[in-house]
Symmetry: C2
Subunit: 337 residues, 2 copies
């Protein structure tokens, strides 16, 4: 069985493009770009909590890095470096090689140098810490939303939750939606280009990791403000509607912008070839309150918000149904798409 050091050397050590000293010393050395601030985020992925035990190793490698890239995107920054710590129950080298390929595929796609890591024995667990750079003072925060701002979302949140529900046999998707939702779950595409373009345009931003309602709620709480959210999908409590509102794991961006910038954002959508949908408006009101309305303006009840790792798992070792609290009649329904 190869040793820890051999595994690191063989699978996790590749050339770097903008790093002074990479894997192989007590620490890595980087020279931050003058005039920039560093954005730093860390995420831990645990088997049974964040991913199914039989998830493809390369997909998992991609996703472990991509969910962190998404945090950098949500700050309007450029991803630059990352570290990766891995706990594995055994040294299954084919699995490790595939996992590393997924990590480096994502790193290559987004111009990230992998500069350090740790491999150890233990229940499967991946911890990525990522470093982005942004011109000083230009980062997008959660706290900048003001009354009158419009609320926008990229892409179509809920696809990852629907892909997961299909894999769990809770709903049945057909092509082409099936492939689309599975890809959203397994190979999420962090919105880096969008985040960079939103500098000076968005007043607040966050990525949809816990669900649209929950993550918008974080913006509202940080900004001390409320919101009215109008949803365009059918008002009936279907799986697709609840996935759109509360399904996490999508890594789209939710952001706010002055209403006067509406046309600029529409133009950006064209330029990036990425759907950007205005879904509501920031309003004066209690911090965090979301007034949910259907397309006709009728108030609606919200599905339970978001995903909380300590509260939502029915039991250790299984993956929760994305915490969507579906009413019984919707639990086995086909999607309404």
């Amino acid at each position: 069985m190869p040793s820890e050091f051999e595994l690191i050397a063989r699978h996790f050590t590749r050339g770097t493009s903008h790093t002074l000293l990479g894997v192989g010393d007590d620490g890595a050395l980087i020279a931050p770009t003058p005039g920039c601030e560093l954005v730093i985020s860390t995420d831990m992925l645990v088997e049974g909590t964040h991913f199914l035990p039989d998830t493809d190793a390369a997909d998992l490698g991609w996703k472990a890095l991509a969910v962190n890239v998404s945090d950098i995107a949500a700050m309007g920054a450029r991803p630059r470096w990352a570290t990766l710590a891995v706990a594995l129950p055994d040294a299954d080298e084919a699995w490790i090689a595939a996992f590393a390929r997924g990590v480096f595929a994502c790193a290559g796609e987004f111009g990230i140098d992998l500069i350090g890591g740790d491999t150890t024995r233990g229940p499967r667990n991946f911890c990525v810490t990522i470093f982005g750079e942004v011109e000083s003072g230009c980062a997008l925060r959660r706290s900048g939303a003001r009354a009158g701002d419009e609320i926008w979302v990229s892409g179509r949140p809920g696809r990852a939750a629907m892909g997961l529900a299909h894999l769990q046999g809770r709903i049945r998707l057909d092509e082409p939606e099936l492939s689309d939702c599975i890809a959203a779950l397994q190979r999420p595409q962090p919105r880096v280009a969008l985040g960079l373009a939103l500098q000076g345009l968005a007043t607040a931003a966050i990525d949809v990791s816990d669900g649209l309602l929950a993550d918008l709620g974080h913006i509202l709480e940080a900004s001390g403000i409320a919101a009215q959210l109008k949803i365009a999908v059918p008002p009936a409590p279907t799986f697709a509607r609840d996935a759109w509102l509360a399904g996490g794991d999508d890594y789209e961006l939710v952001f706010t912008a002055r209403a006067t910038r509406h046309a600029d954002i529409a133009a950006l959508s064209q330029a990036l070839d990425l759907a950007l949908t205005c879904v509501g408006r920031i309003e004066d009101g209690p911090a965090g309150r979301i007034d949910l309305r259907d397309a006709e303006g009728t108030p609606m009840a919200a599905p339970r918000r978001g995903y909380d790792h300590f509260m939502s798992l029915p039991e250790a070792g299984t993956v929760s149904p994305a915490d969507m609290s579906l009413p019984p009649e919707a639990g086995t329904a086909s999607p309404d798409a």
Copy 2:
């Protein structure tokens, strides 16, 4: 049961002293010091692999950060920021509060802002990523050792391994050594002041996490050179001797320096009130080879080197005997101290 966000807010969010934006957004924001490089290191601690399940929570919090601080010390840098990701099987709030106290005790001791993190459900696992700063070009690397350099070690490596062996009932220590060895195991003191003082003095440095022989071996391999190591402890294969040579988890520094700087290092030892012992000499020879001699210069066999998480554990869920491969007659012996 408190939610993930409540736990983070209650126990892991404290004021920062040199951070633009701390816990609570998609990422933290820091402004690196102009003229400095950043040193980055990450370490993952897994229950059953790196610590005993009944380890005191506050000690564990201290150690999770301290082992990372040690990597910054070994690069001759000043620790500045850290992130912490935590997986826990349940939300035992008293345990979490004690763990956080240990983390912040270490952070306070070394001037570190905790700027981000993640809490999730899963088998107990802690991943710290740490950021230090060092004036550009001044970091201590492993690769600078040259023939004729002297080899130095701080403090007294092996104490942590002896403390662990005592807790496991494999040896019996008496006071005051018992307290000293337990403290080395549970509250390691990273050598930050020494690392900073070694800038421009040491030619290479590393911290003793895997054992003196193994970590010196990393310097020799990185520097493409060999070494003669003379040990001052008795040549008989006792537990204390093997712990000194191969016991990990101590976080002392091993470093090399030109022989002409011998007096400067002796003076530094006085100034820091820290034992610094010259234990050998770098020699021309095959990269990584260590010629081990006793105090009379007689060649000696080395105990098995170092600690490898994939190779040394007798079974999952237990802690290895620090990988010391003792001969049978020594396995139950009292230490020779």
